[in-house]
């Protein structure tokens, strides 16, 4: 390899020397130089290149290259997501990755012109975060927590939960009707919504079924995505629901409202009016751009801190009522059976939770020494006040550093520097929120709820580090 590298460098130098002065003028010769370096090019395809022609490789459009790479790698690592524990799951297996073109990477990007701009910025061909599974119309689609840094989830990697597919709605025909116990039943267009004074906030949405597979059918080979990928954190922009309520005039006697989606399941939830007057929002933008269809385009209800099922996507109707409607998704589903022979209903607030996203399966620690243990913590009741990290399976704990900003009802990134001595270890994180609530152990959690509990799986997660450095999900921790 080193010999080839030297040869390539010399060839490139010769090409440039022959060319006289300015690099980049004699393109054929430069491509010749690239040709020699092609064996050095980092091939990001899992399959052998279909063509070794320098011209075809060099002329491969960036879009083709990226599309092929993304397609090939989608689900390559993550296709094993066990979503079957989610109710109504109808996911198909991730399709076999298609053969992908290779991307020739110049040995020295300072010696050849770079790529030209395109209308949309694409990810590096070396990065391939992916939702999983694909093909879901009724069930969960998990966000790749292990691929993300910081706290904001890119919109195209936000988790999804569908009940009968992704509705595609023409924004020019979109309407939101607010009626019921109001003075002025009103129809708002999207343009109307955008003319109200907007607000922007960052907050987490978590499916209350998040963590079900890890609880009911845990495996050592589970990624953070497979354990807790039914949560995501975005910056949302929209109109406060309170503003709309003031515009239509809420009548005395209204205590709840029904929110109904415009999808093929007309997903509907009853929400206390108090929440609507507090921090609820009709959101039309996410991370600076219009919502993605899978996240509710053109508008969705956002109830910060409440279970994701209540944040009705494609929201088309809000009805002020004098009591909950008792829809299927607040009776038969999204209720918490308890050991005492009852089921907790309208358990809307998501309690504090955290998960280490690195080191985590399928990572392998390459060496002993210092490693950042980092992850995400959040609480539907406010801000995270502290996160503790244990490297000995919960026997001793150390306070982790919280990255600013620490926002209420939003992802908070924590970091703990850990000096690994090569011995087996179990890594855990434990979040505390502003109410004093401390994330429980699995034992405390099961003891409080009963083993048949079916939502709000917020107990402490663990990752096992073997002496060889391999990290796996500590299902029994």
């Amino acid at each position: 390899m080193a010999a080839i590298l030297r040869w390539a460098r010399r060839s490139a130098k010769q090409a440039l020397a022959e060319n006289g002065e300015i690099p980049f003028v004699d393109r054929p010769k430069l491509y010749f130089a690239l040709d020699l370096t092609e064996e050095l090019a980092m091939t990001v395809s899992p399959t052998p290149p279909e063509s070794t022609s320098p011209q075809s490789s060099a002329k491969l459009s960036r879009r083709e290259a990226l599309a092929g790479v993304a397609g090939a790698l989608t689900g390559a690592v993550l296709s094993g997501v066990d979503a079957t524990a989610l109710e109504g799951q109808q996911a198909r297996p991730t399709p076999t990755p298609p053969a992908a073109p290779t991307v020739a990477v110049p040995a020295d990007p300072t010696r050849v012109p770079g790529m030209a701009s395109e209308a949309l910025g694409a990810r590096s061909p070396f990065e391939h975060p992916a939702l999983a599974p694909t093909g879901v119309t009724s069930g969960g689609v998990y966000s790749p927590l292990q691929s993300l840094s910081g706290t904001i989830t890119p919109a195209d990697l936000h988790f999804q939960r569908h009940h009968n597919g992704i509705a595609l709605i023409d924004p020019r025909r979109y309407e939101l009707i607010v009626h019921g116990l109001v003075d002025r039943p009103t129809v708002f267009s999207l343009a109307d919504l955008r003319r109200f004074p907007p607000m922007t906030r960052i907050c987490v949405i978590e499916c209350s079924g998040n963590g079900r597979a890890a609880y009911k059918s845990p495996r050592a080979e589970m990624t953070p995505q497979q354990v807790d990928g039914m949560s995501s954190n975005s910056e949302w922009t929209g109109v406060p629901l309170r503003t709309l309520f003031e515009a239509v005039g809420v009548r005395r006697g209204a205590t709840w409202f029904l929110a109904e989606g415009g999808d093929a399941a007309l997903v509907s939830r009853s929400v206390p009016l108090e929440k609507g007057m507090d921090d609820a929002m009709i959101a039309y933008a996410q991370n600076g751009e219009p919502l993605r269809p899978a996240n509710g385009y053109p508008a969705r209800l956002l109830l910060p801190g409440f279970e994701g099922s209540t944040c009705i996507k494609w929201v088309r109707r809000i009805e002020l009522v004098d009591g909950p409607l008792m829809t299927r998704d607040e009776t038969s589903k999204y209720t918490d059976p308890l050991a005492n022979g009852t089921a907790r209903q309208f358990s809307l607030v998501m309690d504090a939770k955290s998960i280490i996203t690195s080191p985590a399966y399928p990572e392998k620690l390459a060496a002993t020494g210092w490693w950042p243990v980092t992850g995400l913590a959040w609480s539907g009741r406010g801000v995270i006040t502290s996160v503790d990290v244990s490297t000995d399976g919960g026997t001793t704990w150390t306070r982790a550093r919280l990255q600013e900003p620490v926002l209420p009802k939003a992802y908070t990134r924590f970091v703990h520097m850990w000096k690994w001595n090569g011995a087996p270890a179990v890594l855990m994180s434990r979040a505390t929120d502003e109410t004093g609530y401390v994330q429980p152990t699995r034992g405390e959690f099961v003891s409080a709820r009963g083993p048949g509990t079916d939502y709000h799986f917020n107990y402490i997660r663990g990752w096992r580090v073997e002496s060889g450095g391999q990290v796996t999900f500590a299902a029994d921790a």
Binding site: H179, T243, R316, T331, S332, T435, G450
Partner: protein, 200 residues
């Protein structure tokens, strides 16, 4: 560079001096207005007709149930053609689609304690009205909204009868359905979590 820094400093000094002269009483900058929401005049009145089209939810008292009726007998044919492929001919469920039929002896409610207990309409469904509401919204999944009221009442009657909650010949309509008492009616309790140290 030095010259620019000096100029910048001078400009800042002038600005500070000007600010000092006017103090906090600079009337050239005013607070932005925040008009009352209702005064913005946004949206248009919803007509009774369009409300009737979309306001189709059913509450536990039966408000919202349309005219029409059905029995288990009339619902059987609809169920077998439109529902059974996913939920089984007797409502036993076709995984991953849920079972609709099943009671637990003594109508106990072991779901929190026993991970094997399977939840159905018969044992984990507090209000009969929800059946109508949900089927009208979302079922059948390949053609939601396609069932007529009589068909929905029939399917509701079929599911309730198969669960042994009503008799097969009982007519379900806007009057009778809200009066059906579901076995799990008293099992649902309001969330008692409040944050704080206690794990619930």
């Amino acid at each position: 560079m030095r010259r620019h820094a000096w100029l910048g400093g001078a400009a800042l000094g002038v600005a500070l001096a000007a600010g000092a002269c006017k103090g906090g009483d600079d009337n050239s900058v005013r607070e932005g207005a925040m008009p009352p929401s209702a005064s913005l005049g946004l949206g248009r009145p919803a007509s009774a007709q369009e409300l009737a089209t979309v306001d189709r939810d059913v509450n536990p008292a039966g408000v919202g149930l349309p005219a029409g009726q059905g029995t288990a007998a009339t619902g059987t044919k609809v169920y077998l053609t439109r529902c059974a492929s996913c939920h089984g001919v007797k409502g036993e469920g076709v995984p991953p689609n849920p079972a609709l039929v099943g009671r637990i002896p003594g109508d106990s409610f072991p779901f929190g304690a026993d991970v094997r207990a399977v939840r159905t309409v018969g044992n984990y469904w507090p209000y009969a009205t929800t059946l109508y509401d949900y089927i009208r919204r979302a079922m059948p999944i390949d053609s939601p909204g396609s069932l007529a009221p009589d068909e929905i009442y029939g399917v509701v009657a079929f599911i309730l009868a198969e669960n042994g909650i009503i008799r097969h010949e009982e007519v379900m309509d806007a009057t009778t359905l809200p009066n059906v008492t579901m076995p799990a009616r008293e099992r649902f309790v309001v969330d008692d979590r409040r944050g704080g140290r206690e794990v619930r």
